[in-house]
């Protein structure tokens, strides 16, 4: 009997910080964690999207 190998679905790694540098600018975008979002949003609202 052949071994059954489990394959993880390829999942894109989500960077915590994205730093974009151009010749004049440096922009740093920080990922907002799910925990942070849940803590900030009013609990009365339902997600729409």
């Amino acid at each position: 009997m052949k071994d059954i190998k489990t394959h993880k679905l390829s999942r894109k790694r989500l960077p915590k910080v994205i730093i974009v540098r151009t010749s004049e600018k440096e922009i740093r975008l920080v990922r907002v964690s799910k925990k942070e979002i849940e803590a900030n949003r009013p609990s009365a609202y339902q997600y729409r999207f």
Binding site: L14, I18, V20, K25, L29, R31, V32, R48, F49
Partner: protein
């Protein structure tokens, strides 16, 4: 609070002089005071949509995004923008969104009042299971990237957007 909206009309798709922008999708809606607002949705590559709106009467002003209308209907305008986002998502399942909360004329560009409100709305309505949220308080820039779109190049998108805005170093 943001569940009410104005009925909007899709005016059509227009070309942009900017090579980063694939097209500009124009909408308009009228308020109860019969003021017309224009919503310009800039479609960047990789299905990123930047939503901008202004009062039609301000369209020739350099500060059209900064000017206040004092109609006290902001919640309904935000509700309309959410409806437009829904419309776009129905047409394009890979749609991601972004915005810059433009400063008032007397306000600095850092963590603006508009940005704080838009951020709250984004956190309230865009499920983090479906969208990745990125923020930059310094430039009042927020990106909501669709997890369904696996090929998205965040760096390219941010570069393209920042070229169109007066971004702080």
């Amino acid at each position: 609070m943001f569940d009410t909206s104005f009925k909007f009309i899709h005016l059509g798709n227009f070309e942009s002089n900017d090579s980063n922008i694939e097209k500009i999708i124009k909408f308009r809606f009228k308020t109860h005071k019969n003021n017309t607002y224009i919503v310009d949705v800039e479609k960047y590559k990789e299905n990123v949509y930047i939503i901008k709106y202004y009062l039609k009467n301000h369209s020739l002003s350099e500060n059209k995004y900064s000017l206040r209308t004092n109609e006290n209907i902001a919640h309904k305008i935000f509700g309309t923008c959410l409806e437009i986002a829904q419309y776009l998502l129905e047409k394009d399942k890979k749609a991601s969104f972004g915005y810059i909360g433009v400063n008032d004329i007397t306000e600095s560009k850092v963590n603006t009042k508009r940005y704080r409100i838009y951020k709250k709305i984004s956190e309230s309505f865009f499920n983090p299971d479906n969208f990745v949220h990125y923020q930059n308080d310094k430039n009042s820039l927020y990106l909501i990237l669709n997890k369904y779109n696996k090929n998205i190049n965040e760096e390219y998108i941010i570069k393209a957007i920042s070229e169109n805005f007066d971004v702080i170093l």
